[in-house]
């Protein structure tokens, strides 16, 4: 329901309304004063009240019908004014309610907006912190993985080198063993073939030659032994 705001009512109507109000307030004030005086007079002298009313009617010099008519008109008018005032008041209340509703809506919206902004800001900060934490953890994990990989590579290289060295050593050892076995086999063959029939006489010149060639070495060894 679209109720016009008080501020939107033209000024002339307001002025008329105010004047009518002033008029009726004056009437009501005079009636109230008269009733108040009559009331206080009845307290001081209750019996002559009827006489006073009658005397007052007589003093106005109005007919009772006229008086009743005026009274009814006044009452009707007063009822209209009261109804109008009540209607105005109702409209004002409705307008005020609408305004308050709008204000409340606006304030609520502002509060919700502010709170939403704060909430979003908090969420964003939390997200950033979480991302930073996750990023740091990921970086740390990556660093740790790189370190482990480096150590693994070093250890693998070391083991490969060691394995290669051991294989070479084993190969060399096996080669030596093969050579030794072959040499032993040939030597055994020669021993079996020659038996004890080694011609040392033929070797005499070889032996003396070897002794002569290594004479200094033998003498040096003999002297060193002493």
């Amino acid at each position: 329901m679209n109720i016009p705001n008080i501020a939107n009512i033209p000024t002339i109507y307001l002025q008329i309304f105010v004047l009518i109000n002033v008029f009726f307030i004056g009437v009501l004030t005079s009636i109230a004063v008269r009733h108040a005086r009559a009331h206080f007079k009845n307290k001081k002298n209750p019996e002559p009240e009827k006489h006073q009313v009658e005397s007052a009617h007589q003093n106005l010099n109005l007919s009772p019908a006229m008086k009743d008519k005026l009274l009814q008109a006044s009452q009707a008018h007063f009822q209209i004014v009261l109804n109008r005032a009540a209607g105005e008041l109702q409209r004002d209340l409705k307008a005020t309610t609408i305004q308050l509703d709008k204000q409340l809506n606006r304030i609520g919206t502002q509060m919700i907006t502010v709170e939403m902004k704060r909430y979003q800001t908090s969420l964003e900060e939390l997200r950033k912190k979480t991302e930073a934490g996750i990023g740091g953890a990921q970086q740390e994990v990556a660093d740790h993985q790189a370190e482990i990989q480096t150590k693994l590579d070093e250890r693998r290289t070391e083991l490969e080198a060691q394995l290669t060295e051991e294989i070479e050593a084993k190969k060399e050892q096996l080669s030596r063993q093969v050579d030794t076995k072959l040499s032993d086999a040939v030597a055994s063959f020669l021993v079996e073939t020659m038996g004890h029939e080694v011609d040392l006489g033929a070797q005499t010149s070889y032996i003396t030659k070897m002794l002569d060639e290594h004479k200094d070495e033998i003498i040096k060894g003999v002297k060193g032994e002493n």
């Binding site: 030597a187 070797q203 002794l211 290594h214 060193g224």
Partner: protein, 158 residues
Amino acid sequence: MKIKLPDSIISRQDLASAILELQDYSKWLSHESIKKQLGSKKGGDKPEISATVAEIIRSTEADSSKKITDIVNALQSIQTTSRSINFTLAAPAPLSLKAVLVKWCRANISPDILVSFDFNSNILGGVVVRYGSRIFDWSFRRQILADKVKFSEVLNNV
């Protein structure tokens, strides 16, 4: 008394044997000398002496027990102080080779040196000379094993 070892005394065992023979001979000479002084006509049997000992006695002109004892002392001194060298051959060394090697050692190393001989057929040939803790290996086996590359090449070419 200085005495030159004959070439026939080669090893320490030869020297010990010669000393024993000389001691017996000295004892016999002493007994014969006493019997002669006492006028006894019956003499004891002369102990058998080897050619080596006979050569020593002849070369030193020892005709009395005292001289023989001096020779024994000299030989014991040599036995105590002399050095010994060992030759290992592929087979038992014949006397001719022993004589050559002993002559060489006494000419080049020391005139009192004693020589011993062993044989080990595993060395195939050549000689292994051992003096104290020092060993000079000129055996064929060592030469074969020492030159494995050449040995392998020879085997591959067979």
